[in-house]
Symmetry: C2
Subunit: 428 residues, 2 copies
Amino acid sequence: MTMKRYTDMTKEELAAELAAVRAEYQELAAMPRKLDMSRGKPNPVQLDLSMGLLGQDPAGLIVTRKGTDVRNYGELAGVDECKQLFADLLGLEQKNIIMGGQSSLNLMYDTVVWALLLGVYKGSQPWGKQGQVKFLCPVPGYDRHFAICQEFGIEMINVPMLATGPDMDMVREYVESDPLVKGIWCVPKYSNPTGVTYSDETVRAFAALKPAADDFRIFWDNAYAVHGFEDEDDQLLNIFDACREFSSEDMVYEFTSTSKVTFSGAGLAVLAASEGNIKFLLRQMGVQTIGYDKINQLRHVHFFKNADGLKAHMRKHAALVKPKFDCVLHTLDKEIAPLGIGHWNRPRGGYFVAYEGLPGTATRCVALCKDAGLVLTPAGAPFPYGKDPQDSVIRIAPTFPDLPSLAAAIQLFTVAARLAALEVLGAK
Amino acid sequence: MTMKRYTDMTKEELAAELAAVRAEYQELAAMPRKLDMSRGKPNPVQLDLSMGLLGQDPAGLIVTRKGTDVRNYGELAGVDECKQLFADLLGLEQKNIIMGGQSSLNLMYDTVVWALLLGVYKGSQPWGKQGQVKFLCPVPGYDRHFAICQEFGIEMINVPMLATGPDMDMVREYVESDPLVKGIWCVPKYSNPTGVTYSDETVRAFAALKPAADDFRIFWDNAYAVHGFEDEDDQLLNIFDACREFSSEDMVYEFTSTSKVTFSGAGLAVLAASEGNIKFLLRQMGVQTIGYDKINQLRHVHFFKNADGLKAHMRKHAALVKPKFDCVLHTLDKEIAPLGIGHWNRPRGGYFVAYEGLPGTATRCVALCKDAGLVLTPAGAPFPYGKDPQDSVIRIAPTFPDLPSLAAAIQLFTVAARLAALEVLGAK
């Protein structure tokens, strides 16, 4: 393998390299392989860490501390001790918490639906009656956020992600000038897929926003709040603390879940907001349901005991996850870095590496991998409408495969990335 | 206590009776009592019947028969063996079933939201863009159905419940003439609160509807599908079988749940529909969530084994529930029937007795009970907008209290009903 940068190669060198890499790819593609790395899914060994959730003494799963029978109807906002657990985790109080079902995506979706049909505070006009409403979308971002907007015809506006979080000058400009800008999607810690944790300055800039729309809301999807895998965890400023200075607490809906803490298919989702917002949202939620699964809430309380217990549990995840990120980064460093055809983040937590290749290579690279039996997140997925303007970003989700499969997969990926880059460079 | 009909009494007799009943009421009201019978909640002893759901061997809660890890993401429509259980129960096939979370109300709410915002088939116009859409509401009915319509500004039209189900002449007239009539709420078996099971003729009349709106949908809330408590269970015709003759399967969304089978707070909800509708709904649901709690689905499969197991389980509920209905009916027969001031249904299943007193007495009777420490469902609740045109219907939910408390409560109720009737008769 050459260590010369592809961008410095002559036409002849490129042609020779293309032939060599094509052969390498064909050899790898001929190997039997069927691996789906399209989503950020925990590996089964991670799920095994939470088996203590199951098989608990049934006698302990009947009543809450205050004596409510969790098997019956009631407790719309959730069980107190479970709200307390997540309040402690997020630096909030019980009154700021609603326990949802097992999907925070579902809570975000519902919150958008309520805003569209019913408005976001008493007497506010529903978003859906105000014309073409818009959301700001830091990119690259989480495809399922964007899918909600697309589903309901909410116009999406791309905002670049910087090393400190979204470009806050652009955010401020849009939010403070356009009353049809009603929301922004944020993954403020170990952002999906860039791994960025918003700086304190960025969080304060959010808190300080003076929106043109009095029904503007920040969708603060703190999905990876406790998902650091290095010794030192990124510190995200508590946005509600920052908001206090500006009395802007009502502007924020925060979400989190245990989908990557306990079970992706049977965990807990959480919505956190100002006391006023919680009251308003509970009234809406009370038309939708009589309450979410409270037994599962008690299960989680018994399993973790408290927020410290949950954090200790996350160290076990970190021990399993970190070697996988190391493998991806090591392979990219070795195979791609010297060639000058791509760069990537080095996250300290979360679930993704965002690979940015040469413009025009992402779709091709993903297709090459797929033909060789490796399914990646579709190119374009981390952008609104599935359209990456540069066709350059690929989201790598290292957690699901075991380490040997991952190593082989990421090796294949680098070959596909090189091949796609050579094709583009050769075509110049 | 007199056995003379109140309606046959002279003014003097009424006055004497009023004084006697008032004294009786005051004596009962002075007794310490705090009982909430406002909702159809199972008694804790009923919940105890399902403790086998909990404490199952964790090793059995990891993979489905086809090998899917239920702890992880995936299987949006639910676990096959769980879908099969409910398909068998409803006389349908797996492909007709979506497993929801633990609240069928939530599924109904979501289905209405999707229709409002997105339409009910590919290319159909969202209900919300068609002007003032309307629902037919058989009355008395289930307050939470009506609350969904009220929340979203869907106009509700009362349709009388007959002994055979809703007045189908009126239903047909509305549905086949007005394209803005988009739906109807039905509880077809042991109807809430009238206890009526729709006759075969009624079910066939539903199937035969030729709606003016091609996006009309029947919300078939089969909440009490297996909730008979007499030896002989009412037989409800399978509406999808009836629809086959008219190729009208797409017109029906059926719902059921285990809220009153296992745990009200942690059971399973089910949506059943035509294959085409299921596909369309799953695409919408796939934007909202990645899937519902699959571990709880497996728990239910292990606990019941199959539909027969679930039905056998319901016999245990019946043994607990029947004496309570007997107590209510016996007390009403003894205390009210001879007076000619009310009548009621004699359900063979479900959760309610619908008491119909003299016009203008329901609100007063409920208030009298409340003042004496007994909370009933608010008068008016079983009607759209909470308005009972006659102010005569009271929903009695006998299941939650233990038998001695229920007996005392229903005795108080009869005294309050007599007092309210006497006040109205005396005021004439």
